[in-house]
């Protein structure tokens, strides 16, 4: 399965935008686990995911060719 990862804010400093080919990541909880294993720095920050431009509020199924944004706390204004 292909997932496109895009990152924002301070997360851009250690996760580049990239496409990954993975199997066995069925939902956003599993994806978080994958991310935190691969990028341990993420464990120390609060972050939210947006799956195909929808902010993830609860565990959600991921389908092939999803785009997932990793977003640190907002600081606009």
């Amino acid at each position: 399965m292909e997932i496109e990862i895009i990152s924002f804010g301070q997360i851009t400093e250690f996760i580049n935008n990239q496409k990954i080919e993975v199997d066995g990541i069925a939902d956003t909880n599993a994806f978080k686990q994958y991310l935190e294993n691969r990028f341990p720095a993420l464990k120390d920050i609060k972050y939210k995911l947006a799956l195909n431009k929808n902010i993830v509020q609860q565990n959600t199924e991921i389908t092939n060719r999803a785009t997932i944004a990793i977003m640190p706390p907002f600081s606009g204004g």
């Binding site: 301070q10 977003m71 706390p73 204004g77």
Partner: protein, 161 residues
């Protein structure tokens, strides 16, 4: 990226599709742009009160270093979707004649304006309340990030409190 005349980026005439207004401006929001925006309302004679909020980049001191600028980035598509939703909710909540919102992207130096929220109504109270609520919601809900750049070119990521 918006031009400073506040153009609508996904403009279309089909009323069944929602119009998503752009709020992003490249670089600082100039006093001239704000003045022009105010001037455009003199033909809207049902308006009796305007409320304006302007966010200005503050020269904060952190560990002996001064902020020189903030560089803003956003998840633009998501931010505009979310802003559209907030805009609709605020219009339902308050009897407003007008609502204009602009936020900078890219570098804005200390002392320059990075946020401009402008609401108008027949009487002042809805304009004031809506303006304040828009600013609160925008800061909490829009995926925008500010990187504070210090005079020595080091940086830290801003956090809204």
């Amino acid at each position: 990226m918006a031009s400073l005349n506040g153009g609508i980026i996904f403009s279309n005439l089909n009323m069944s599709e929602k119009k998503i207004k752009n709020i992003f401006v490249k670089g600082p929001i100039t006093p001239a742009f704000i003045a022009d925006s105010i001037a455009k309302h003199n033909s809207k004679t049902a308006i009796g009160g305007h409320s304006i909020f302007m966010g200005q980049v503050r020269k904060d001191e952190i560990d002996g270093k001064f902020v020189a600028a903030i560089a803003y980035t956003a998840y633009e598509e998501l931010a505009l979707e979310k802003m559209h939703q907030i805009r609709e909710e605020i219009f339902e909540q308050y009897p407003l004649s007008c609502m204009h919102i602009y936020h900078s992207l890219g570098t804005v130096k200390t002392g320059e304006i990075c946020l401009f929220v402008f609401t108008s109504s027949a009487h002042r109270k809805p304009a004031i309340a809506a303006c304040s609520e828009i600013v609160d919601r925008l800061k909490a809900e829009l995926p925008i990030w500010g990187k504070e750049i210090f005079e020595d070119e080091t940086h830290q990521w801003k956090e809204n409190i």
